[in-house]
C-alpha cells in the first residue's frame, strides 16, 4: 500500500520544519527502526526512524524546504498490498544526543546548549540573582567564576555591600586601633628646605649603579637626629620606658601585600650610601612579601614619606611599640622673603612629627624636630660618619 511520509510534530509549539537530509533514495528498502530522514526545527535536528519496513517510492520535498507539520514529504510502500492510503504512519523518533523524548504525540524538545539555540540559560546562584535584581545588573553581561561558569555574588560588577577582611587586614586593623586608643599622640609640624638635599642627591647619583633615594637621605637625617637627641630614642613598654639608643629608623612601605615597616638598624651610625645598600634589598623583599622577622619591629621612629604623591602634610599613626612617626609631604616650590625681604625660591617639604606623649614632652620633641631639620638642611654631613 502506498503511504505518505508526513512532517512530524516534534514540539508543542512547532508549526513547521524542514528536511536536513534524506537517508534513503527512491527504490531503497528500509527496515523497522531504520532512519529515513532528518528533520530540523528551530530548536534541533531530529532523526526520524520508521516503525515498519518498506520501500521508499518518491521524495516530494528536498532538504531546505520548509514544510508545515503534517505536510507530505514523500511516499513509501508498505508492501502489504491493499488500496493506497493517506493515513498517517507511526514514526518513532530517534533520540538526539541531548534531547529527552517520550511519546511521539507529546514531545517537548528541550534545547541542548551545545546545539547553539537562541535560548541561553544563565547559571547563577540564587543569591547572585537576587543581588542582580536588586541592583539592576544584566546577568548576560557577567561572566561567572564558579564551577561550570556559575555566576556567584562576587562576580557581580558592584562589590557586595560587605567584603570579608583578610587575616592581615584584621591584624592591621587591630594594631591601628590599638595605636590610636593606647598612644596619646601629639603633633608638631615644620616646613623643611630640601634644595641642598636634592642637589646632593643628584651629585651622589652620578655614575653609580645603586642610586641613593630621597628617602635614604631622610632616613640618614632622622638617624643622625636620634644620635643628636638620645633622650627621644626611647619607647614605652609594659615594663617601663626602654632606652634604645640604637638609632634604628623604620621605613613605612606600601606594597600590594599591605603596609610594612622594615627597620634600618643603626641608621644614625651609617652613611647615606650604607643606608642605600641596606634598604635596596629589603625593599625588594618587601615587594615579594618576604620580609623576615628581624627586619621588622623595634626602633623608636618610622618615616612615612608621601613625597611621591601630591600632599602637603600627612599626619600618620605611630607604630605600636615605637615613640614617633615622621610624616613627610611632597616637595613644594615656594617663595619666601630672604634677609633683604626679597622673594627667594625655596623647595620645601611639610614635615609632621607625631609623638607618644607618654615618653616625649613638647620640648624634647621640638628639639628632635629641629635637629632633623638641621640635618636635612646640612646634608653633606650625612655622607660621612662623624
Amino acid at each position: 500500500m502506498r503511504k505518505p511520509f508526513l512532517m512530524p510534530k516534534l514540539g508543542l509549539t512547532m508549526t513547521e520544519g524542514s528536511i536536513v537530509e534524506w537517508k534513503l533514495k527512491p527504490g531503497q528498502a528500509f527496515n523497522r527502526g531504520q532512519i529515513i530522514f532528518v528533520v530540523e526545527t528551530d530548536k534541533s535536528a531530529v532523526d526520524i526512524e520508521s516503525e515498519q519496513s518498506g520501500v521508499v517510492l518518491e521524495i516530494v520535498h528536498f532538504p531546505g524546504k520548509a514544510v508545515s507539520v503534517g505536510g507530505v514529504l514523500g511516499y513509501w510502500d508498505d508492501e502489504e498490498g491493499g488500496a493506497n492510503s493517506e493515513s498517517v504512519v507511526e514514526f518513532q523518533l530517534q533520540k538526539t544526543s541531548t534531547v529527552p523524548v517520550t511519546a511521539v504525540d507529546s514531545v517537548e524538545v528541550f534545547p541542548a546548549q551545545h546545539q547553539g539555540n537562541d535560548i541561553k540559560r544563565i547559571v547563577a546562584t540564587p543569591f547572585a540573582r537576587r543581588l542582580a535584581r536588586k541592583f539592576n545588573i544584566d546577568l548576560h553581561k557577567v561572566s561567572g567564576t564558579g564551577p561550570n561558569g556559575r555566576i556567584k555574588a562576587a562576580d557581580l560588577p558592584l562589590g557586595p555591600a560587605t567584603t570579608q577582611p583578610t587575616a592581615s587586614q584584621l591584624i592591621l586593623a587591630k594594631r591601628l586601633v590599638g595605636a590610636k586608643q593606647n598612644i596619646p599622640h601629639f603633633y608638631l609640624s615644620l616646613e623643611v628646605e630640601v634644595s641642598e638635599l636634592l642637589a646632593l642627591r643628584i651629585q651622589l647619583n652620578l655614575d653609580v649603579d645603586v642610586r641613593v633615594s630621597v628617602n635614604d637621605l631622610f632616613v640618614a637625617a632622622a638617624g643622625r637626629a636620634l644620635l643628636d637627641c638620645p633622650q627621644v630614642d626611647r619607647v614605652w613598654s609594659e615594663d617601663g620606658i626602654i632606652r634604645l639608643g640604637s638609632t634604628d629608623v623604620g621605613i613605612a612601605v606600601h606594597s600590594s601585600q599591605g603596609l610594612f615597616a622594615p627597620i634600618v638598624r643603626g641608621a644614625g651610625r651609617m652613611t647615606v650610601r650604607q643606608i642605600t645598600e641596606k634598604t635596596r634589598p629589603m625593599l625588594e623583599r618587601v615587594r615579594k612579601g618576604r620580609l623576615n622577622a628581624l627586619e621588622m619591629g623595634g626602633g623608636s621612629l618610622t618615616i612615612s614619606n608621601a613625597g611621591m604623591f601630591d600632599v602637603t602634610y600627612i599626619t600618620p599613626i605611630i607604630n605600636p611599640g615605637q615613640a614617633m612617626i615622621l610624616g613627610i609631604g611632597s616637595v613644594r616650590e615656594v617663595f619666601r622673603p630672604d634677609a633683604n625681604c626679597l622673594p627667594s625660591l625655596r623647595r620645601e617639604v611639610g614635615v609632621v612629627l607625631a609623638c607618644d606623649h607618654r615618653i616625649l614632652d613638647g620640648v624634647a620633641a621640638l628639639n628632635f624636630l629641629q635637629h632633623f631639620k638641621k640635618r636635612v638642611q646640612q646634608p653633606q654631613l650625612l655622607t660621612t660618619l662623624e
Partner: protein, 324 residues
C-alpha cells in the same frame, strides 16, 4: 562551676533529677548494681535505692514500653538503652506507643519519659555497636530528639528532657564520655535551641554531637591558613531543630554545610538542607552541602573506620567546595 567529664555530667544530672522530683526513676540493663556499662549511672542505686534505680532483664522492647506505661501513670522514667544500635528492639514502644499516645488518645495524656542511649563510633566497636540512628526518631511526630556535644549541655539538656512532658530520646556519644568541660548546674538549656559556638562571615557549618569539635578544628585551620572565618552552629536539639538560628546564619554567610557522624544518605542533614533550600533559596551563593558517613555499615578495622569517619580533612574539603 566544676570541670568534669561528659559521663560525670550525665551522672550528676540524673542525681540532681532524682533528688528534685521523686517521680523520676532510672531503669535499664546493668544501670543499678553495675553503675552502667559506661559507668554513667554509678552511685545512683546507693543514693536512691532499688525502688527508683532498677536493673532490668535484657528485654529492650518491654523495658521501653514499661517506661511508656509508667510515664502515663505518674512517673518520670529515664530508661537507658545500652547502645543506640539496640534501640531497634524497642521501635514499637517508641514509635507506635510513646510517640502516639498523646495524639491518638485525643491530647488527654502525655508520656514524660526519657530514653538515654549512647551512639557513635571511633572505638572499633563494630557495625552493631557504633551506629548513629537519631534521624529515624527525628522523623517520628511525637518524639523529641536531643544530642548534646559538651558536658554542660549534657547536664542541662538532660534536666530539660526529664522535665519535658513528652518522650525525649537523649543521645549521648560513647566517644565523648571522657570529654572534660565546665559544668554549672544552674545553667538551663531549653530543648529546641541551637548555640552559635563560633562566629564568622564566610560560611556556616551546622553540626551536632561529636562532629561539632571537628567543625571547630576545621574552622580554626581555615582561619589560620586562609584567613577564612567560618560560623559554627551546634544544633543541640535535632527534633525540634532551631531553624531560625540556622537560617539567620545562612542569611549572613550565604554558604552552608551540615556535618554529622551519621550516614549522610537520608540523615538529619538532608532535612536541614531541604529546608534551607526551600526557605533561604535566594540567600544561597553555593549549593547546600552535607558531610556525613558513607553509605556503609560502620567497619570494625581501625584503618577502615578511620577512613569511614567524618574528620577535619573532609570538613575542610567541604568548606573549600563551598567557596568555589
Amino acid at each position: 562551676m566544676t570541670l568534669m567529664a561528659y559521663a560525670h555530667a550525665v551522672n550528676l544530672s540524673l542525681m540532681d533529677a532524682l533528688r528534685a522530683d521523686d517521680r523520676v526513676i532510672v531503669l535499664g540493663e546493668d544501670v543499678a548494681e553495675a553503675g552502667g556499662s559506661f559507668k554513667v549511672t554509678r552511685g545512683l542505686l546507693e543514693s536512691y535505692g532499688a525502688t527508683r534505680v532498677i536493673d532490668t532483664p535484657i528485654s529492650e522492647a518491654t523495658i521501653v514500653s514499661a517506661a511508656v506505661g509508667a510515664a502515663m501513670s505518674g512517673l518520670r522514667p529515664v530508661v537507658e538503652i545500652m547502645f543506640m544500635d539496640f534501640i531497634t528492639l524497642a521501635m514499637d514502644a517508641l514509635v507506635n506507643q510513646a510517640a502516639k499516645a498523646r495524639f491518638m488518645f485525643g491530647g488527654k495524656t502525655s508520656v514524660p519519659m526519657v530514653v538515654r542511649t549512647p551512639h557513635g563510633g571511633g572505638l572499633s566497636a563494630g557495625p552493631q555497636h557504633s551506629q548513629c540512628l537519631e534521624a529515624w526518631f527525628a522523623h517520628v511526630p511525637g518524639l523529641k530528639v536531643v544530642c548534646p556535644s559538651t558536658p554542660q549541655d549534657a547536664y542541662s539538656l538532660l534536666r530539660s528532657a526529664i522535665d519535658d512532658p513528652d518522650p525525649v530520646i537523649f543521645v549521648e556519644h560513647k566517644g565523648l564520655y571522657g570529654l572534660r568541660g565546665d559544668v554549672d548546674s544552674s545553667v538551663k538549656v531549653p530543648i529546641g535551641h541551637a548555640a552559635v559556638v563560633r562566629q564568622g562571615r564566610a560560611l556556616t557549618l551546622v553540626s551536632y554531637g561529636a562532629t561539632v569539635a571537628v567543625c571547630l578544628s576545621a574552622a580554626k585551620q581555615l582561619a589560620e591558613k586562609n584567613g577564612i572565618d567560618a560560623e559554627v552552629i551546634d544544633l543541640r536539639t535535632l527534633q525540634p531543630w532551631d531553624k531560625a538560628t540556622v537560617l539567620a546564619s545562612v542569611r549572613k554567610t550565604h554558604r552552608v554545610a551540615i556535618v554529622h557522624e551519621a550516614v549522610q544518605a537520608f540523615g538529619v542533614g538532608a532535612e536541614i538542607a531541604a529546608c534551607i533550600a526551600e526557605d533561604a533559596f535566594d540567600e544561597l551563593d553555593a549549593p547546600v552541602m552535607r558531610v556525613g558517613a558513607p553509605f556503609m555499615p560502620v567497619p570494625f578495622s581501625r584503618s577502615l573506620e578511620k577512613q569511614y569517619a567524618v574528620d577535619e580533612t573532609k570538613v575542610v574539603a567541604a568548606m573549600h567546595r563551598l567557596l568555589l
